[in-house]
């Protein structure tokens, strides 16, 4: 526990070393929040924790820990406005897991972002993501994720398509300690129908998690984006009733543009011989920002 506290202090120090306010976002197309209610219930501090189909998005290297499963998730990102994100995820180990870790694993995820735009028009994005994870030995996994996406809008100038590539890794330091690292959109490019090119903003995520406390997982992530450490994330997850009920919470300290903190919490319930899991997550953001959002996701172990 002391080590995790030290890790949290290190992450806070890392974030604190940056200016009090990180550079603002430069916006752009194909910016997509992460998948699922489970991860958002922990404020997104899951790069060293996640071990189900959510890992396709948060840390592809950790799909090596996931069972063959299918998931779906939905969230309306902006209360009071119509900006919905619907996602389908599928992950499958290609080899028999040894010690719960598959040597080869693949997955795919489809995301749709739809918005009703001011002025009575609409806009949508579709993302298709494919992941391969390789675990040369049980303590280490690496992964690569490729993504293709396209957008369409009722207003001219917003039809575009492009691709991006992520890299990820996980390291199990011990039975109770894990590290995660993800480089998102390390290579990306997209083109609008008027011929203009753009690219997605690269981000790097470093995470640490511990299970030293029985039935409790503590995690912390730090995200670097816009040339600064823009986000420090802290989360926890507890399980009850022989892993049939999970409660979780988290804190996201955002620094891009202006500092603000969002609190998250969530719960999961397993049923049908633990093959079906329903997740709920809520994010209590500043009311002058996105406000309170609710996410629901469903996972089926096959």
């Amino acid at each position: 526990m002391k080590r995790f506290a030290l890790a949290c202090i290190a992450i806070s120090a890392l974030a604190g070393a940056a200016p009090a306010r990180a550079d603002s976002s430069t916006g752009g197309a194909f910016i997509l929040p992460g998948y699922g209610a489970r991860a958002w219930g922990m404020a997104g501090a899951v790069s060293a924790v996640i071990d189900d189909e959510s890992a396709l998005d948060w840390n592809p290297a950790r799909i090596s820990l996931a069972a063959r499963s299918l998931g779906a998730s939905y969230v309306n990102l902006v209360p009071g406005a119509s900006l919905g994100q619907a996602q389908l995820a599928f992950v499958m180990p290609l080899s028999q897991p040894a010690n719960g870790v598959a040597t080869h694993a693949v997955g795919a995820m489809f995301s749709n972002l739809s918005a009703d735009i001011a002025g009575g028009t609409s806009y949508s994005e579709n993302h298709l993501r494919a992941v391969y994870a390789y675990t040369p030995q049980p303590l280490v996994s690496v992964a690569i994720a490729g993504q293709a996406f396209f957008s369409r809008g009722d207003i001219g100038g917003f039809d575009a398509w492009g691709t991006s590539v992520d890299f990820a890794g996980r390291l199990s330091l011990s039975k109770n300690w894990d590290l995660g690292a993800v480089g998102k959109d390390m290579f990306s490019r997209y083109s609008f129908d008027d011929g203009r090119d753009s690219h997605k903003e690269t981000s790097v995520v470093l995470g640490i998690a511990t299970r030293r406390i029985p039935m409790v997982t503590l995690s912390a992530d730090v995200v670097r984006q816009y040339a600064s450490w823009t986000r420090a994330l802290f989360g926890f997850e507890t399980v009850y009733l022989v892993d049939h009920l999970a409660l979780r919470g988290g804190l996201a300290m955002n620094r891009a543009g202006e500092s603000r903190t969002a609190v998250s919490f969530g719960a999961s319930l397993r049923a049908w011989n633990a093959r079906l899991v329903v997740h709920y997550g809520a994010t209590l953001d500043d009311e002058t920002a996105f406000g309170t959002t609710h996410r629901v996701s469903l996972g089926v172990r096959m």
Binding site: D23, S25, F30, A115, A118, D194, Q225, N254, G291
Partner: protein, 545 residues
């Protein structure tokens, strides 16, 4: 001082030659001199006494220094009684007193040095002295013409007549009494001597008499102030007396001026008035007034009336401006000093209506309390033309179309709108007052319900329009990317119901924002502590025109 002249006539010519200093006539007396040849022992500290100095090169058996009357016989005062004298410089002073202490009378005197050497004949040397007890006099008799108007058809110069009396006698080697004439302008500032071109007749050489000094100020006229000037004439005599006389006269350096009441100069008129009404003004009054119509000679203005210093007048116009065009009239006024002022008056008769403005079209609803109405207008080169904007039949704004930049002559003005239908029409009125036909009509429907209104797509330079349910205390608008990271923010702390936040397309860090969907969150705070929050997704396209 006239007695001086009589005395001078009695003095031997040889003696007059010894006016200021007498070089030694013999080797024994190397120097014999009188420092002040004219003294005025009146106790004013100036030339109250004179110093008599002689220098002996060797000892003498007897030396005497005596002041005699002009006849060189009657002793007046003994500065040194006969006695042996040693070699060297000896100074003696005479304070204008007799040997018995009584004051000597005004007149000429002779101071005589007599030296007896040890061998050879005695040496006698004399110098003249004058005792002046009377100050000079000066009086300016007149300065003509008054007022003096240099550069007009009147006298070229100002003639200053003055009398000078009791001047000191003119002696060889001594300058005459100084005559100084100063001129002060109405501000009290002296005109520099170098600028004064004064001629005195007869030429002043130190003598008493009547003189006339003339001043030709024509070259200085543009710089001379109009008003009362002061002449100060001073005489400073050799004994230190000063006489001064002051005289005032008027100098007219300003032409009469015109003030046109109706129509004003360079007016553009759409209908010809009966007459031009104006006033001519000069401090010293208008003597005569003339007008010259196009292609005619000057003719005297007869319809005049005097009020204070101004001459009001009217000249007929209606029968002179029969067709549209530009007309030039000339007015000439002469003041009572003879100075004339000419004014070139111009008037343009224009009865043609200007072109109607063309408003840029608009379709759809509007959500702010001001609408950027724009259009183009041909002002025909009239710099004073204006565009009047009418909303629902009532004027709401205007602008000077003459200031628009050709050839586009495009204008844009933020006009207030009222909830509901706003029908805008524009007219152009030229400088002559002609009104154009109405422009095309632009209808703006102002929907004033509370909310956040954003153009689709939003382009740099556009504005977020925010309407509160009622007058708010402040408003804040934040723009986020889809993932919730802040792009930029705006604040307006003014109490309003309608807010507009213009955005250049840069984020808070100054970087250009990319094309894509963004989320705007607007917060309106009211005085009672409540607030409304509006969230809208919008598409931002920095590359759109």
């Amino acid at each position: 001082m006239n007695s001086f002249r009589r005395v001078l006539a009695t003095l031997p010519p040889a003696l007059l030659c010894l006016a200021a200093a007498m070089p030694a006539r013999a080797q024994l007396v190397s120097r014999f001199e009188v420092r002040e040849t004219v003294i005025s022992p009146d106790g004013d500290g100036r030339q109250d006494s004179t110093r008599v100095r002689y220098t002996l090169t060797d000892a003498a058996v007897s030396v005497s220094l005596v002041v005699f009357a002009a006849d060189s016989v009657t002793p007046v005062d003994t500065l040194r009684a006969p006695a042996p004298g040693a070699a060297g410089v000896v100074d003696s002073y005479w304070k204008g007193r007799r040997w018995d202490g009584a004051a000597a009378g005004e007149g000429a005197y002779v101071v005589t040095l007599r030296v007896t050497p040890s061998s050879g004949p005695a040496i006698g040397m004399s110098l003249p002295l004058f005792l002046d007890l009377t100050a000079p006099t000066v009086q300016i008799l007149s300065a003509i013409p008054d007022p003096y108007a240099p550069g007009t058809q009147g006298p070229v110069s100002l003639s200053i007549s003055h009398l000078i009396g009791n001047t000191s006698p003119v002696l060889p080697g001594r300058p005459p009494d100084e005559l100084k004439l100063e001129l002060f302008n109405p501000s009290g500032k002296a005109i520099a001597d170098s600028l004064l071109d004064l001629v005195t007749t007869p030429p002043y050489q130190g003598g008493s008499g009547a003189y006339v000094t003339t001043w030709d100020a024509r070259a200085l006229t543009p710089t001379l102030l109009d008003g009362e000037y002061e002449i100060a004439l001073s005489v400073l005599d050799a004994a230190g007396y000063t006489a001064r006389s002051v005289y005032h006269f008027e100098l007219d350096s300003k032409d009469p001026v015109f003030h046109f009441i109706s129509p004003i100069d360079r007016a553009r008129i759409s209908s010809v008035p009966d007459s031009v009404r104006a006033a001519a003004f000069d401090k010293r009054g208008i003597d005569s007034l003339y007008v010259r119509y196009p292609q005619s000679a000057y003719q005297r203005v007869t319809q005049t009336s005097e009020r204070n210093d101004s001459t009001f007048f009217a000249v007929p116009l209606a029968d002179s401006l029969l067709a549209e065009g530009r007309y030039a009239l000339s007015f000439r006024a002469v003041d009572r000093a003879g100075r004339a002022g000419v004014f070139a008056y111009e008037i343009t008769y224009d009865a043609t209506a200007p072109a109607a403005p063309v408003l840029d079209g608009f379709s759809g609803s509007w959500h702010a309390d001001h609408f950027p109405l724009s259009g183009t207008v041909d002002n025909g080169g009239d710099g004073t033309a204006i565009v009047r904007i009418v909303r629902n039949g009532a004027p709401v704004d205007s602008l000077v179309s003459g200031l628009l930049t050709p050839p586009a002559n495009h204008f844009s003005v933020s006009v207030p709108v009222v909830p509901g239908r706003n029908e805008f029409v524009a007219y152009q009125r030229d400088g002559a007052g002609n009104l154009s036909p109405p422009s095309n009509r632009v209808v703006v429907t102002f929907k004033s319900s509370a909310g956040l209104f954003i153009a689709a797509p939003f382009v740099p330079g556009g504005s977020f329009q925010l309407i509160g349910a009622r007058t708010a205390a402040a408003a804040t608008l934040r723009v986020f990317d889809v993932a919730g990271d802040l792009v930029t923010r705006f604040e307006d702390g003014s109490p309003r119901q309608f807010y507009a936040f213009e955005w250049s397309g840069k984020n808070s860090s100054g970087a250009s924002v990319r094309r894509g969907p963004l989320v705007a969150v607007a917060t309106i705070e009211y005085d009672d502590g409540t607030r409304d929050i509006f969230r809208e997704v919008f598409l931002f396209n920095p590359d759109a025109q």
